[in-house]
């Protein structure tokens, strides 16, 4: 059995088309999950709505389990699956900027595009802000270059750092997710904001 999609047999154009279709599906799912509402998204930080956590974490663990089983069946070669590269400082600074932007703007980059697509003006401003940020970063890149490239650790996998089998780590993460969801739902009850959520 070979890979599900023969990556090397597909031309660049087909690749882009497939990416476009997957993107459409992703946007549609986000919109259906109610992620085009900044109130729902910000609810994650105030504890009155943890849909964001549940949806994204469920997606992650589903994909994780899917990959593990596909790998076991020989349908996917994990050695050529792209793993995000890890720069310690960049990850921390970027995470903080992303978090602040998320609370202040009420969107994350993906959901802002989603919300702009259904005509939300605040999301359009958010996208404008992101683009200005990208431009500024690009123009002043030489100032950040050192920090940006500091402590590059390559494509790290948590399981290899912890010296653990992928499957065992997956089990731990799934259990963690279940505990988080349980705590999150209790928080939802405690911090519930009916006034806000009614409009969503």
């Amino acid at each position: 059995m070979g890979p599900i999609i023969p990556v090397h047999g597909i031309s660049e154009e087909w690749n882009l088309l497939i990416a476009f279709l997957i993107g459409l599906g992703f946007g549609f799912s986000l919109e259906q999950a109610g992620f085009s509402s900044s109130r729902k998204l910000a609810g994650m930080f105030y504890g009155y709505d943890i849909t964001v956590l549940k949806v994204f974490f469920t997606a992650a663990i589903t994909a994780m389990l899917g990959l593990i089983f596909l790998n076991y069946l020989g349908w996917i070669d994990m050695s050529i699956v792209y793993v995000n590269q890890y720069y310690i400082q960049s990850a921390i600074v970027g995470g903080v900027i992303m978090g602040v932007g998320f609370i202040a703007g009420g969107f994350c980059p993906g959901t802002s595009v989603c919300a702009a697509a259904i005509g939300k003006i605040d999301a359009m401003f958010f996208i404008g802000g992101s683009l200005i940020g990208i431009l500024l970063f690009g123009e002043t890149y030489s100032l950040w270059e050192e920090l940006y490239n500091k402590n590059f650790l390559g494509s790290l996998k948590l399981s290899s750092v912890l010296n653990m089998k992928d499957g065992v780590l997956a089990l731990i993460i799934v259990l963690m997710a279940m505990v988080m969801f349980w705590i999150g739902e209790r928080a939802e009850k405690k911090f519930g904001r009916e006034d806000i959520m009614k409009e969503v």
Binding site: G2, P3, H8, I61, T62, L65, I68, F69, N71, Y72, G74, I76, D77, M78, S79, I80, K165, D166, G167, V168, A170, L171, I173, V174, L175, A177, M178, F181
Partner: protein, 204 residues
């Protein structure tokens, strides 16, 4: 039971199974033994001596000649335009970008054909494309091109053409030395000059 509880149970039990399953490594890009054997049998990645000659003479930029012999031998002699990547450092950091690339076709060569074929098999196994091998190595190339012998049956025009091309290639590689000696030998015996006889008779 609530659907979310069922979902949670499914997820947890699936991950428990995943935890029990043995770790497996797949390699979609690597060839298995049968596929490799098939490729070797077909000679898909062989470049013949005459083809190599044409590539060198035409200075074909789509090919890169890679000499896999040790540096000492490379310094003594190598093919024109060839770079030296000793066999033992073939997949090291310094050279891997020459072997794993999409720009040019590499032709591996050594004196014989064994080591270069091994290099080809290894690179194919790693999933690298665009690597070829000089069939028979430098030795066969010398034998067939630089020391080409006239075809036994001169009626075979095709063989004759190949021979003529090889002779031309010899001139390219060796210059004037390549010209067959017996063709240009000039008989330098003095031409006897006949003595002029006095004109006799007539109306002088």
């Amino acid at each position: 039971m609530k659907s979310r509880v069922i979902l949670a149970i499914i997820l947890v039990s699936l991950s428990a199974i995943a935890a029990i399953l043995p770790q497996k490594k797949n390699s979609a890009l690597q060839l298995n033994a049968e596929e490799l054997l098939q490729e070797i049998k077909l000679g898909t990645y062989n470049i013949g001596p005459d083809q190599l000659t044409e590539i060198i003479v035409n200075k074909d930029p789509s090919y890169m000649l890679i000499d896999l012999r040790p540096a000492s031998e490379y310094e003594k002699f190598s093919l024109p335009g060839a770079i030296n990547i000793p066999f033992d450092s073939l997949f090291t950091e310094n050279w891997i970008m020459y072997i794993d690339q999409d720009l040019r076709k590499n032709i591996f060569f050594t004196n014989g054909g064994t080591l270069s074929s091994t290099a080809l098999v290894l690179s194919r196994q790693k999933g690298f494309k665009n690597n070829f091998v000089l069939a028979g190595g430098l030795n066969r190339w010398f034998e067939t091109v630089l020391n080409a012998k006239p075809p036994a049956n001169s009626v075979d025009t095709e063989a004759l053409k190949i021979y003529q091309r090889r002779l031309a290639a010899q001139q390219y590689f060796k210059g004037g030395e390549a010209l067959p000696k017996n063709d240009v030998q000039i008989d330098l015996k003095p031409i006897p000059v006949r003595k002029k006889k006095m004109v006799q008779g007539g109306c002088s």
